[in-house]
């Protein structure tokens, strides 16, 4: 993508890529989702009701928007990391494990720094989360650079390891909550928490300061990818590793750094959850965010701005899906189907251009 070097944020074809295709994909997915509901015996009126609920639950109220944003933040953070990896030609499946390590490290650091003022405790805990994610991802990067081990395999294995490692660590005295027999961590002290932002409106609104962190990271990722030397190396290695090597770029170092930065962002996503939403680490706290984030990164075309919007869409689907379940009694699994359909349609932009010929600039024949 050449937007950075074109001196403006987004060109026409990128707007098509980033917004128009996803918008049509969403429409198509909702239509087919309705078909699926029909096929499973849901009545027309319930389908209508459930889509109203989807809208209401995602953007229909302050609480809905707060939930949408809260769900979107970790997806955007982890998605940014994955997008950087994709740009460097690394198909990192390991965000889930990196989220676990980052989230847990943030809790541990938060507990340790809990007596300090928030201005030290919170950055310290966030930093620990990013560092843990970075180190954990670097294992896969180092394995690839040193031995050629494929990152898809090694990151999947590292995910499996991280689940069990989390279960084990949650029972160690340093981490486990006092007086509990089940695997659960100590609570994050107030000083290390990401403060809630909207409690002045309603005490139950969950949106927290992670939103500033996330927006800052979108900017950082954009700068890194399109303005920095490192990002140039990432993109060159991703597009054509042979030419990058001939041009004197260090392939091994690029791989390790790209994985480390991807891991740091996933680690921040984990920290965002444990410090901002959950206040503790529990088994399975990563909740598949690392896998949804793959879809978010792909949907966002590995562009930081695209990832931001894709994350918001997925956050909205998640928050709205819960409302759908409550209001219409439609299974939340349907949201999974709609999310998957959106991805399928986005992966086929040509199909979108065929179904919805308007909205696209007429492309010239070759």
């Amino acid at each position: 993508m050449t937007s950075a070097t074109e001196g403006r944020l987004l060109g026409r074809s990128q707007i098509e890529d980033l917004f128009i295709v996803p918008a049509f994909a969403l429409v198509a997915a909702l239509v087919i989702g309705a078909g699926v509901m029909l096929a499973t015996g849901v009545t027309f009126s319930t389908i209508g009701q459930s889509y109203v609920a989807l809208l209401r639950g995602s953007v229909g109220s302050v609480n809905a928007v707060s939930e949408t944003l809260t769900a979107a933040l970790p997806l955007v953070l982890a998605g940014l990391g994955l997008a950087l990896g994709f740009r460097a030609g690394l198909f990192n499946i390991g965000a889930e494990g990196q989220i676990i390590m980052g989230g847990l490290a943030a809790v541990v650091a938060g507990v340790a720094l809990g007596d300090l003022p928030a201005i030290f405790a919170l950055p310290g805990a966030l930093f620990a989360g990013a560092l843990a994610g970075a180190l954990y991802a670097s294992i896969a990067g180092w394995l690839k650079a040193a031995t050629g081990a494929h990152e898809v395999i090694s990151t999947i294995m590292l995910n499996l390891i991280s689940y069990r490692l989390l279960d084990y660590l949650l029972r160690t005295p340093l981490i486990q909550k006092e007086g509990r027999a089940d695997p659960i961590s100590k609570s994050v002290p107030d000083a290390a928490e990401l403060p809630k932002l909207l409690t002045f409106i309603d005490i139950n609104l969950r949106l927290h300061a992670g939103i500033f962190l996330t927006l800052a990271m979108v900017f950082v990722a954009y700068w890194l990818l399109f303005r920095s030397k490192l990002g140039f190396e990432f993109r060159a290695s991703g597009e054509n590793p042979v030419a990058a090597r001939v041009a004197g770029m260090n392939a091994g170092l690029t791989i390790v750094l790209a994985m480390a930065i991807a891991g740091a962002l996933a680690g921040l996503a984990g920290a965002n959850q444990t410090l901002g939403v959950l206040d503790r680490a529990t088994p399975g706290f990563s909740a598949g965010i690392g896998f949804d984030a793959i879809a978010v990164a792909l949907l966002g075309r590995s562009h930081p701005v695209g990832v931001l919007f894709a994350g918001l869409l997925f956050g909205a689907l998640e928050a709205g899906g819960r409302q759908m379940q409550v209001d219409a009694g439609v299974s939340i699994d349907l949201i999974g189907i709609i999310q998957s359909l959106v991805i399928v349609f986005i992966a086929a932009p040509l199909l979108m251009k065929t179904i919805f010929p308007w909205g696209f600039r007429r492309s010239d024949a070759p």
Binding site: R227, S228, K229, L230, F232, E239, A243, A244, V246, A247
Partner: protein, 503 residues
């Protein structure tokens, strides 16, 4: 079979790749189709072999107008194409490859390979092709693989054979053999369309020449009455200067000293075998040789991309045997890689990004961690202009440039900075005469400024045109050395050395 193209126009959107082309292909005749890359040769031939349907005009075979709906129709009508890049299954035998897709079958869909073998033997004999039907493709030299492609077309009963840049992959000796084959095909009454941009070859082999430029036939004639400069001018639209002006030969001290270098291929075979050579400042050393004799491995070792297993490389007296590509770049060593698409450029990057692909990391383009893209764009535009890289904008993707402009972009990137030594692999492969002349003049200009240059090329004409000293590489070793400025040397002598005669 007589084929006529009448008033063929082929448009892609608003762009006309061919405009009102009239062309007649006669049996028993070699029609040489000459044109630069992008002139519309391939489009025209793709129309003829059924891959494209023409926007206007018609194809007439023996007086009957035909319409091809796909390449299958063209093959049935007797028109076959031998592509520049072979379409063979490497692990199959010759016979299996020849019948692939039109296999003779016996009862119960049994593959009748005996018939296939016999047929290949008959064709091979009839046209003097000398191919063993049982040989496995990947064990055959490129020249023989090409004959297999020809047999494939003949097996499909083609009367018109279109040969797309057939000599690009051949040695001078193989070219001679290949020309004999073309003659025997002609004598048997086949019509041949010989597509090329090489002037010497088209003058040697053709019975009639048609020159295509910007989609139109701009001239045609009898090769006996045309000269190289005339053809070149027709092809590019302006006079071309073949002689590269160069300063008198006045070499300085040794800049590159390679001592006993041995490099292995990835499979462990010896590619470069205890090779020694020296290049002096202000000197162009050309390495001639048939592809696959270790030239690629030599370039890679000198560029720092592979580690030699023994030997030493000294640059200006300094040991750089194990220096990284970046270190070499900093010392003023420029590298024009053999494979520009794969190793020289990133197609999805802009011209500007490609222009700084190996110099983005330091001044003037970067200070600290970020790249000054505004600066990159202005500098890249300047360099592109200096080196005649024709691009709508430095923001265009490099993949959209023609081959000649892509190579000029790489040459611009490598030579626009202060260099002391240049390694160039196949610097003009597949380019048109205009670009070739331009790139040669740039390489010679670098020599005149006192750089040492090592040029590896499988085009003997190129080696002879630019080199002060010629080395011949065969099986990983230097087997012959010539100094044309002392004793003139002819093509045949070097050709023999390239085939291993001197070893």
């Amino acid at each position: 079979m007589r084929v006529e193209l009448r008033n063929i126009t082929k448009r892609f959107g608003p762009v006309a790749a061919n405009k009102g082309v009239n062309l007649t292909i006669e049996p028993g005749e070699v029609l040489g189709l000459l044109g630069e890359n992008g002139a519309g040769k391939s489009t025209l031939m793709n129309v003829l072999c059924g891959l494209y349907s023409p926007s206007e005009g018609e194809i007439v075979i023996d007086g009957n107008t035909v319409e091809f709906d796909g390449p299958g129709d063209a093959i049935r009508a007797g028109i076959g194409m031998v592509h520049q890049h072979f379409m063979l299954v490497p692990v199959f035998t010759v016979a299996e490859n020849v019948v692939l897709g039109v296999e003779p079958v016996g009862r119960a869909d049994h593959l009748d390979l005996a018939t296939a073998r016999a047929e290949v033997e008959r064709l091979s004999e009839d046209y003097g092709l000398a191919v063993d039907p049982d040989a496995i493709i990947e064990t055959l030299p490129v020249g023989v693989q090409q004959r297999v492609e020809i047999i494939k077309v003949l097996y499909r009963a083609a009367d018109v054979l279109i040969l797309d840049e057939p000599t690009a992959v051949l040695t001078p000796q193989e070219v001679d053999e290949f020309f004999q084959i073309v003659r025997s095909l002609c004598d048997a009454g086949k019509a041949i369309v010989f597509i090329t941009h090489k002037l010497n070859e088209i003058l040697d082999i053709s019975d009639r020449i048609a020159v295509i430029r910007r989609g139109e036939i701009v001239g045609s004639g009898d090769p006996k009455k045309l000269t190289r400069p005339e053809l070149a001018e027709m092809m590019v639209g302006h006079p071309v200067d073949f002689e590269v002006a160069r300063a008198p030969f006045a070499p300085g001290g040794v800049i590159l000293d390679v001592k006993g270098l041995t490099v292995l291929r990835s499979d462990g075979a010896v590619a470069v075998d205890d090779l020694s050579l020296q290049v002096r400042s202000g000197e162009i050393v050309g390495i001639a040789g048939v592809q696959g004799n270790g030239q690629s491995a030599l370039i890679e070792a000198l560029a720092g991309l592979t580690r030699p297993v023994s030997g030493q490389v000294l640059f200006d007296g300094q040991d750089i045997t194990f220096a990284s590509p970046r270190e070499r770049h900093r010392m003023g060593i420029a590298h024009i890689p053999e494979d520009r698409q794969r190793a020289g450029l990133i197609g999805t990057f802009s011209v500007a990004e490609n222009m700084v692909l190996d110099s983005y990391y330091g001044p003037p383009y970067a200070g600290g961690a970020s790249i000054d893209w505004a600066r990159v764009h202005t500098e890249a535009a300047d360099i592109a202009e200096q080196f005649d890289v024709r691009t709508p904008s430095v923001r265009s993707d490099a993949a959209h440039l023609s081959g000649g402009n892509q190579q000029k972009l790489i040459v611009a990137r490598e030579l626009s900075r202060d260099t002391r030594f240049v390694i160039a692999g196949q610097p003009t492969r597949g380019l048109d005469v205009g670009s070739i002349a331009y790139i040669h003049s740039r390489l010679v200009a670098a020599r005149d400024e006192g750089d040492g240059l090592l040029i590896v090329s499988s085009e003997l004409d190129e080696i002879m045109a630019v080199s002060d000293r010629i080395l011949v590489m065969f099986k990983g070793r230097i087997v012959a050395e010539y100094a044309p400025h002392e004793t003139p040397v002819d093509k045949a002598t070097i050709g023999l050395a390239m085939a291993g005669a001197a070893a």
